[in-house]
Structure formats: structure tokens, C-alpha cells
């Protein structure tokens, strides 16, 4: 039976009073992950590659499995490298298949990532039957563990715990990249032909976007899980695109959606006690549905 626990403001307040530091870290972590995904996602949606996030986050499995087999234990850095390489391999394979076999992008994507995922599952079941390669962790992540990781001190200052600092670094770098390369990105996204004549090299920008995607997916994986990544790559960007037309406004709106989903989702999870990542993604989905249905209703009213 599905039981919904009773809602109480008291419980929410208690969490903040008892552990304000931990809550803040989780919220920050959530925002860095969802924000980074949202920013990359806007470009993926505009480039009609929305589902490549789904493909990449499934394609990393063999990389994780092989890294595990080589290292023999769950070391963070090994898994990070293995997953990163597998992610890039997925992207390159998709492109190769698409170009050489003249398949449509959706078919090429489907062929590559399902095959890679199957390979990963097989590797795990062949060589690591007894391993604690936790499917649960890969799928859903465990954001609530964020405050328990070792802290980071740099230049005498406290920078939060390791995952927060890492994800914050990636989020900050991503923002910086977008600000610096705003114009080439804008032109290459909407008019690759014009970008080429202006000397921007759309291919370089494309591979840049793919590399950033792989980095974000892999970095977000351990703490946030595949579900949050796949959902957050699309939902905030799609919501923002319903509301605004200018790219800068869309990017900002996507960030706002991500922040809103993180805050509301975290508290929803405190209430329901489920999975932080799934709660944030659910709120994000609800946000999209609300905007979409409101627009539909408004359009109907205006038409009379």
C-alpha cells in the first residue's frame, strides 16, 4: 500500500534547527548539480540532442565496471576516469554510427547506449558477481550523505565537503565558460552555417558542449544519481523555453527553475522520506506541467 506520511511544519523546522549546516550543504549540492544540468540542458534542447544525456548516463556503465575491475575497489577517482572515458566514447560512437551508417540520430543513439549498457551489465555479472557495485546508488544517488564526506580546506577557508566543492567548481567553471563563449555558443546553436562563416568552428563548439556534458554527468553521478541528471538536463530548460525566447533569459530562468526545484524538492523529501534526487526531479516535472498547463489554459481563455 502507498502510505503518505502526515505533513508537519514542525518536522521541516526541526531539520533546519538541528542541522542547519548539513541542510545547507545538501541544498548547495542539489543546486550545483541541477544548475549545471539545467545550463547544459538548454543547449542540448536547442541543438535537438535532448536525449543524449540519457544515452551518456547509461553509456558510462561499462566504464565504471572496467574501472572497478582494474582498481579492485570503489575508488572515486578511478570510477570518475572510467566513467568519463566511457561517456566520451558513447558520444563519439553515436556520431560515428550516425554519420557512417546514415541512421537518424535517435536510432544511432539507441543502438549505441543500449549496447554499451548491456556490455556493462554483462561485465558486472561475469566478473564481479559479488561486488557491491550498488545499482541503487548509481541510479538514485545519495544526496543525504553529502554532509558526511570529508571537508575541504583551501587557503585557510572552509569550502564545504568534497562533493560540494567539486560540483561547485564544475558549476562555476560552466558558468564562466558560458559567459566567455556566449556569442559563439549562441550563433553556433541557432545557425551553424553563419557560425562557420564568422570563423567560430561549430565542430569545436559541438565537441566542447559534449565534453562539458560528459563532465557534468560523471561528476553528478555519484552523489545525485542518473535519474536526477537525466531529468534535470531537460526539465528546467524545457520549462524556461516555454517562458522566454532570449537565450540569456532562458538560461537564467532555467537556473531559477533548478533552484526552486532543489529547495522545494529537499523539503518534500524531508516530509515523504523517499529519495532527495527523485523528489527534486519530481518537483521539476510538476513545475513544467504547471507552466505548460497554465499556458494551455490561458491560450484557450484568450481564444474565447
Amino acid at each position: 500500500m502507498i502510505e503518505i506520511p502526515p505533513f508537519s511544519w514542525e518536522a521541516l523546522r526541526t531539520v533546519w534547527i538541528e542541522d542547519p549546516h548539513g541542510s545547507l550543504l545538501i541544498l548547495l549540492m542539489g543546486f550545483f548539480v541541477t544548475g549545471a544540468c539545467a545550463l547544459v540542458g538548454v543547449f542540448l534542447i536547442l541543438r535537438r540532442m535532448a536525449l543524449i544525456g540519457d544515452a551518456v548516463s547509461h553509456g558510462v556503465l561499462p566504464g565504471i565496471a572496467i574501472a572497478y575491475l582494474i582498481m579492485g575497489h570503489r575508488s572515486s577517482i578511478g570510477l570518475f576516469i572510467g566513467a568519463g572515458l566511457a561517456a566520451l566514447l558513447t558520444v563519439l560512437l553515436i556520431e560515428w554510427v550516425q554519420r557512417s551508417a546514415r541512421l537518424k540520430p535517435d536510432a544511432a543513439m539507441g543502438v549505441v547506449f543500449t549496447s554499451m549498457f548491456a556490455g556493462g551489465v554483462l561485465l558486472i555479472s561475469l566478473f564481479a558477481g559479488h561486488v557491491d557495485l550498488d545499482a541503487d546508488c548509481v541510479l538514485y544517488g545519495e544526496m543525504l550523505l553529502t554532509p558526511l564526506e570529508p571537508p575541504v580546506y583551501l587557503a585557510g577557508l572552509y569550502w564545504g565537503t568534497v562533493p560540494v566543492a567539486r560540483m561547485g567548481f564544475i558549476f562555476g567553471g560552466l558558468c564562466l565558460l558560458i559567459v566567455i563563449f556566449y556569442r559563439p555558443l549562441l550563433v553556433a546553436t541557432f545557425d551553424p552555417g553563419l557560425a562557420r562563416t564568422l570563423g567560430f568552428r561549430p565542430a569545436v563548439i559541438h565537441y566542447g558542449v559534449m565534453t562539458v556534458l560528459a563532465t557534468v554527468v560523471v561528476a553528478a553521478f555519484e552523489s545525485a544519481g542518473a535519474i536526477l541528471v537525466i531529468a534535470m538536463l531537460i526539465l528546467p530548460g524545457a520549462t524556461a523555453l516555454l517562458l522566454f525566447q532570449r537565450l540569456a533569459a532562458v538560461l537564467l530562468a532555467a537556473l531559477v527553475c533548478a533552484a526552486l526545484a532543489t529547495v522545494v524538492g529537499y523539503h518534500l523529501d524531508i516530509w515523504l522520506n523517499t529519495s532527495t534526487a527523485a523528489a527534486i526531479a519530481t518537483v521539476s516535472f510538476a513545475l513544467f506541467l504547471a507552466v505548460w498547463l497554465t499556458q494551455l489554459a490561458a491560450a484557450r481563455l484568450l481564444r474565447g
Partner: protein, 442 residues
């Protein structure tokens, strides 16, 4: 003895039929560029599965099945609605439903697990699949779905064909594309939902995507694609299931997908015409021919610069006329020498005796090839500046490409159209088909 193999029948039959149904339905979504809709449906069924499970409170398949089907169809219909009412494209709409429904599903799943009623193994099975656990009843369901899909395709083949390829035309002759497409969607959702049990949510879409993609590499005709795709699906189903029996603990789903992927990889590499291997070989052949033609043209031009004097042509002069790298020129000269188009000679540089300057001499065969390439180049320059009224200083690049493509027939026609010209727009000589090897001058 035969009795001990009985437990094999259900998984084998189930996998084979699933492969067949997936291949058949996959053909339709491949041509409509909806390949990943199967992926969307497979993930989006989760909330339905959980609600079906919670509602029924036990591990009978029917509750899960109905829930999955409803959620999957809802997601498929919602993607259509999002695409039609917003600026968002198909792939984004699919991603929204995939991520959103899956997140809601996990939320519900955790709520069920928290309620502590235990036994969520039925749900786990739906996520990761287990062909070995297929029961007789499951196989009946799978067989029914496969049969229904096959019958529908056979009976209404023409309608489905028209609706899939040209919805506007279908509407014009009075068939409702929406109705038929919904029917295809329904069958697709059915195919996904029945495969979940055997191969799981992540790999179920592979049954719908890989066999038709493989078939598309091998044929361009739609009926052949459907037959081939179904056959490949069947083959992968049987192969994967048999492979999984070779070692205990091997899951069937990944092996079915990997069998399928192996077929795809083979076709991808060696398919007639479209295989990557042939493409690479063809590409290499073309590149070598272009290199040769560029080289021989450079030799011609260098010689022309010297008014076709009898002396050997210094390689340095050829180098000036050659647009590639030194390495490319060396390789081009080597190949020309092997074909007997030219001979190498050395001639002493005028003031001091050594070192000798390398130079070469065009043979009669080389001359024929050279004048053919130059003829094509200059004819095309003339044609462009005459027929297309392009300024003479803009025609060179285009002619550089076309000189490798024109065939003899086209050259004859160009000659005729341009009244057998003797000079190109830059005023240079156009070698004729019968231009003799330049005679040694006194």
C-alpha cells in the same frame, strides 16, 4: 532425458517471440524517427508499475501489466501533446516524460518500500528483467501480443505504410492518421511492456531499435526491412537466451541485446554499399586518384610554363604548381613513376656542377592523362564563365573539384556545347583529345 529440458522452453520461446515483435514494431518507429519513444515508454511505465503493485499487493503480473500499459500510453500520448502545443521538439518532449515519470515512479517506489509491506521483488524484476523466470502464462501473453502485432501488420500493411510515410496523403484519402498512429503507439507500448519482464526497462528499447537499424543498413525497401528486422530480432532472442545458459548467473537481457549489437556491428562494417569498410576503401581509392591527377596536372603546368621545352622539368617548378604538401607531391610522383607516366632525370644546375637538381620527364601515357585532367579543368572554367556568367577569377576552385568527376561523355558534350574551344577564360590553351605529345623543338 527430454524432461530435463522443459524449463528451457518458456524462456526460449518468450525471448524469440519478444525479439520478433520488437523487430516488427521497431520498423515502424524507425521510419517515423521515433526510435527513442520505446526508451521513453520503458522508463515511464515505472509509476504505473508501482501503483499497480500497491493496488494489487501481490506479485501477480496482471496489476503490474495494466499499470505499466496505462502509464506507458499516457507518456506516449503526452509527448504528442507537448510537441503539438509548445515550441518544444519531439526529443525534448520524450525526455520530459522519461525523466519526469521515472522520478515520480521512484518517489512512489520508495513510499511503497517505506510502508514496509516487503516483497517489492516484483518491481525489481520489472526494472532489470529475468527471462529465466518467464512462466507459461507470460509466454501466452507475449505470444498473443506478437500475434496481434503480426496480424495487424499483415492485414493493414498498405494503410500502415501510407500512414507511416505520408500522413498528409493518408488524411487526404480519408484514412485518419491519428487513429492509425495511435494504434501503432498502442502496439508499441504493449511490446515494450511485455518485454520489460524479460529484459528490463533499460534494455527493452534495444529490442525495438537495434534490429530495425541493422535491417536499414541492409535494405532500403520497407517490406524487406520489416521481414529482416523481425528475423534479426528473433535470432538475437534465441541467441541471447542460449548464450545465457552457458554459464550460471548470466542475465538473458544483456545477452540478447549484445547478440543484436553484434549483428549491427557486422552489418555496420561490411554491409554491401553502406558498410564502413567499403566506404573507407572507396575513400582511399578516390583520394589516391585525386592525388595522382593533381600531380600530373602540376607537371603539365610546370612544363607549360617552360613552353613545353624538350629539357626535363625541374621538380622545384612542379612543386610551385602543386597545391599539396611536399610529402603528397613525393607520393604522387612515386605513383606516377610506378604507372610509367613519367621518368626521373637529373640535370646539372647551370653554374656549378653538383648538386644535381632533380627533374622529370612526362611519358606519352603521362601526357594523355595530364592533358585529360587539364582539359576537364579548363573546359569547366570556360563553361562556368560562359553558361553561368561567373567571373573568370572565381571559377578555379570549382574546376579543381570537377576535374576529378567529369567522365569522357560529359567532356565530349562540354566540348560540343562550347564549340570546341581552344582557350580557357584566362587565355590558356585547352589540350584537345588528340593533341600530340609536344614535339622536341630545335
Amino acid at each position: 532425458m527430454t524432461g530435463s529440458y522443459h524449463y528451457l522452453i518458456e524462456p526460449l520461446l518468450g525471448s524469440a517471440l519478444l525479439g520478433l515483435a520488437g523487430g516488427l514494431m521497431g520498423g515502424f518507429i524507425l521510419v517515423r524517427r521515433l526510435s527513442l519513444l520505446g526508451d521513453t515508454i520503458a522508463h515511464a511505465v515505472l509509476p504505473g508499475v508501482v501503483i499497480g503493485f500497491a493496488w494489487q499487493m501481490e506479485k501477480t503480473a496482471s496489476g503490474l501489466f495494466v499499470g505499466a500499459l496505462v502509464a506507458g500510453l499516457l507518456a506516449a500520448l503526452l509527448t504528442g501533446a507537448i510537441r503539438q502545443t509548445t515550441i518544444l521538439k519531439e526529443d525534448t518532449a520524450q525526455g520530459i516524460l522519461l525523466g519526469g515519470f521515472y522520478a515520480v515512479g521512484i518517489l512512489l517506489l520508495r513510499l511503497v518500500q517505506n510502508a514496509g509491506t516487503g516483497g517489492s521483488t516484483g518491481i525489481e524484476g520489472f526494472l532489470f528483467g529475468q527471462a529465466a523466470a518467464l512462466t507459461r502464462a507470460d509466454v501466452y501473453v507475449i505470444a498473443t501480443v506478437t500475434l496481434a502485432a503480426a496480424l495487424l501488420v499483415i492485414v493493414f500493411y498498405r494503410t500502415l505504410l501510407v500512414v507511416s510515410f505520408d500522413a498528409v496523403f493518408a488524411a487526404a484519402i480519408g484514412w485518419s492518421p491519428r487513429l492509425w498512429q495511435s494504434l501503432i503507439l498502442f502496439l508499441l507500448a504493449l511490446a515494450v511492456v511485455v518485454s520489460l519482464q524479460a529484459v528490463g526497462a533499460v534494455l527493452a528499447p534495444a529490442l525495438l531499435i537495434i534490429p530495425p537499424a541493422t535491417a536499414a543498413l541492409l535494405t532500403k525497401r520497407f517490406p524487406a526491412l520489416l521481414v529482416l528486422s523481425s528475423a534479426l530480432g528473433l535470432l538475437a532472442g534465441v541467441g541471447g537466451c542460449l548464450l545465457s545458459l552457458t554459464r550460471p548467473g548470466l542475465a538473458t537481457g544483456p545477452l540478447i541485446v549484445l547478440c543484436s549489437a553484434a549483428c549491427f556491428a557486422t552489418a555496420f562494417l561490411v554491409a554491401p554499399q553502406r558498410g564502413v569498410l567499403w566506404q573507407v576503401l572507396r575513400h582511399r581509392g578516390t583520394r589516391r586518384r585525386m592525388l595522382l591527377e593533381h600531380g600530373v596536372k602540376a607537371v603539365f603546368q610546370a612544363w607549360e610554363d617552360r613552353d613545353f621545352a624538350a629539357d626535363p622539368i625541374p621538380v622545384a617548378a612542379v612543386r610551385q604548381r602543386f597545391s599539396g604538401s611536399n610529402w603528397q607531391l613525393a607520393s604522387s610522383i612515386r605513383h606516377m613513376r610506378q604507372r610509367g607516366w613519367l621518368t626521373l632525370a637529373t640535370l646539372p644546375v647551370k653554374p656549378g656542377p653538383p648538386p644535381p637538381e632533380p627533374s622529370l620527364k612526362l611519358s606519352t601515357t603521362g601526357w594523355q592523362h595530364a592533358s585529360s585532367v587539364v582539359r576537364k579543368h579548363r573546359l569547366w572554367e570556360l563553361y562556368l564563365s560562359h553558361a553561368a556568367a561567373i567571373a573568370p577569377d572565381h571559377v578555379h576552385d570549382d574546376a579543381d573539384t570537377i576535374e576529378h568527376i567529369l567522365n569522357d561523355e560529359q567532356v565530349t558534350e562540354l566540348m560540343a556545347r562550347l564549340n570546341h574551344p581552344h582557350h580557357d577564360p584566362h587565355g590558356r590553351w585547352i589540350p584537345q583529345v588528340d593533341s600530340p605529345y609536344p614535339a622536341p623543338r630545335p
